[in-house]
Symmetry: none
Subunit: 221 residues, 4 copies
DNA sequence: GATGAATGAGGCTTCATTCAT
DNA sequence: CATGAATGAAGCCTCATTCAT
């Protein structure tokens, strides 16, 4: 993918100093991404200039471009990480979903009680800063949403099957899954970005999950 | 609209030529807003330069600034119009909501079957282009969301009262209303902006409304 | 000079209505100049846009251009009026100067005690806003200064002659006259524009005049 | 100079290349300031566009903004340098002033015979281009004048004390000092900017100083 | 004579990206 | 590998002036 990284990919046994270097490099990249995350979330993607990001990460502008391709790449990298984290937490919860629906309940809990309060910057970047920035970024956003929606979708289908029912169509399940993502998104936007009601997030999450589960159970009547 | 040009506000009977001028002015503003709407939705807010907008509206750049304060103002004006339209259509449907929940069903139908297919540009601007652009724009976005959410919220509370039930708390109703807005938003984003499945919008809307109504009715069991 | 004004210059007996019109026109021009004076002095020449001036004068922008050639012309007209006023007041005082030097004392009194407190806007325009604006404006400024300096110069020469002395050269008298104008200028700038010490202006003027007269009398020793 | 680039201020021993860079940076800034000085004095502050300045300095527009904050900053930097130079030359002369008044005579000589002929651009910027440009610029102008006036003022007070006399009030000394500055200013404007009589500047300066000293000595009679 | 909408050149400034050291 | 000075295209906006009504 990147010309310079090929050296490491040729898994030749690395010398000690080479290992150290690699560690340092990864550490440096993390610092840069952290700086970008903070500034993107705090000042907004456009207002956060590359120079400011470099300053915050305590590197030079030139160094920035050694670790990332361009500014868009910075946003994409962050976005993908956020998507990965989210899917790691939510996806695994959804995957445990069975008849009991506890998986869905658990996913909601994790999102509102763990992810949101601990990663407000990620929320801001995923739901605000990365919106409508460019075709590439939108593609990554869509990809993340698609995967998350798919996770939920599979869970819903599994529940249905266990109940001996079926969705009217594949679309129906997808619509429901998409709706759930939309709920999570807007609730986080309202109560974390626009208002800071972190302390109410637990209640909010429970209400939301109740709403969702009500909607689902309704299918089986 | 403009501090100094209040002469019209003093409702002195306007001469015929003055009336014609005013009409022309309003027409011109509409042309400009239309050009901006098309370009913002098509190329994105940032890529749509003021020059391009002027060209599209077939006026000079200077004329643009005779009708609007600055680029941000252009977006805000569009946003407010969209918010007004949405609330006009959805709000009135929600307001008719009673025990039967037909109001909510109707609101869903209007949004997915009428508004979305007929105003894809509005959807793109409201849900994509206006996100995270500046504090002023965000304030207007929030304001629109707040009002829409409030409309839904009132409808929900009314339904509950008619059922002789009550929400656990005011927050619960608000959370449900916010969730509904989130569902509408993401579904429109998925099936209108990211995919163009206008022809499926009817089914999608019905599924979404079923989900919502299921969630609501669950409250009364 | 101006194509349109030629009608009046052909001093044909004017009808009553034509007379009224002319009066109105002159009144209107005064209003416009007044508005410009206030805005130039208050916001500065560049920040005072033609539109603002028109608004303040309660006419349209188009009308402005019926009465003046362009913005520069506005400044020049003001400047010339100020020059005329100044010369009217100071010049006549200087002209009465004889052996006794009371004329010079009187001129100082008039400038500091009458002109400055009553015409701070004129001071701001003459000494601040018109400085370095364009070649045309500078030419008018120079012209005004030259005339004032000449008035002083003549007075000084007369005093000398009456004392039976002579200036070493014509330049000497001119330098002294120029110096006196510089004193007046900077004192007004310091104590009227930069600080507002209008109430001290009398003392300041007296000190200044004492300084001047001391310098002059020294010639005769 | 720049908030972030304080690294040099922590006086860590700089490497050779870092030292060279710093030298180059300072040299470049001087080139830019020189270009601005020439253009401001020659074409006027407003007519000198940033592009023209960049061209004259043989750098790109972007580079300009690496060295200065904005156009106003360019003028302020020049102004402050001029103020520093003036005070360096005049101030030190004034400070040597004692009973004999030679200090004052010397200051006049330096200004008219050395500073003016060698720095006509500085004169144009200080007395013409920087007048009434903005509040910030005016503040710097005032600051420079205040310091120069204060230098003169201290000298006058010292002379008086040595003569066993006293000024009627502090204001009196200040007024005299301000007057002297005004004389210098207008004489330079008349005989250097409006007319180019550099060759007469010596005589002019002597006449001016004679006038001043006459005025001062008059205090002791 | 008066109006005010329209013009468009030109100004200042930002900022992602590059590259010689 | 790291640096940071340099680039220059591109953007937004202002405003004196004109002219059809």
């Amino acid at each position: 993918m990147n010309k310079k990284k090929n050296k490491q990919e040729t898994k030749a046994p690395l010398s000690k100093s080479a290992l150290r270097r690699q560690r340092e490099r990864e550490q440096r990249l993390k610092t840069i991404l952290g700086a970008a995350q903070t500034l993107f979330a705090g000042e907004g993607y456009h207002k956060a200039s590359m120079e400011k990001i470099a300053d915050t990460a305590e590197v030079s502008v030139g160094t920035l471009y050694f670790y990332i391709k361009n500014k868009e790449d910075l946003l994409v990298k962050l976005l993908d990480q956020i998507g990965f984290d989210l899917r790691n937490m939510l996806g695994s919860a959804f995957k445990t979903t069975d008849v009991s629906l506890t998986g869905i309940r658990e996913a909601g809990r994790i999102f509102f009680e763990e992810f949101c309060p601990n990663n407000p910057e990620s929320i801001a970047i995923f739901f605000r800063e990365s919106v409508g920035q460019s075709e590439v970024v939108e593609a990554h956003r869509k990809n993340i949403f698609d995967k998350l929606i798919n996770d939920v979708c599979q869970a819903l289908i599994r529940v249905c099957e266990n109940q001996g029912t079926r969705f009217q169509s594949n679309l129906s399940a997808e619509v429901m899954a998409t709706s759930i993502m939309g709920m999570f998104e807007r609730l986080a936007y309202q109560y974390l970005i626009w208002q800071d009601r972190s302390e109410d997030l637990k209640t909010i999450g429970q209400d939301a999950v109740d709403f969702i589960i009500g909607g689902i159970e309704n299918l089986f009547r």
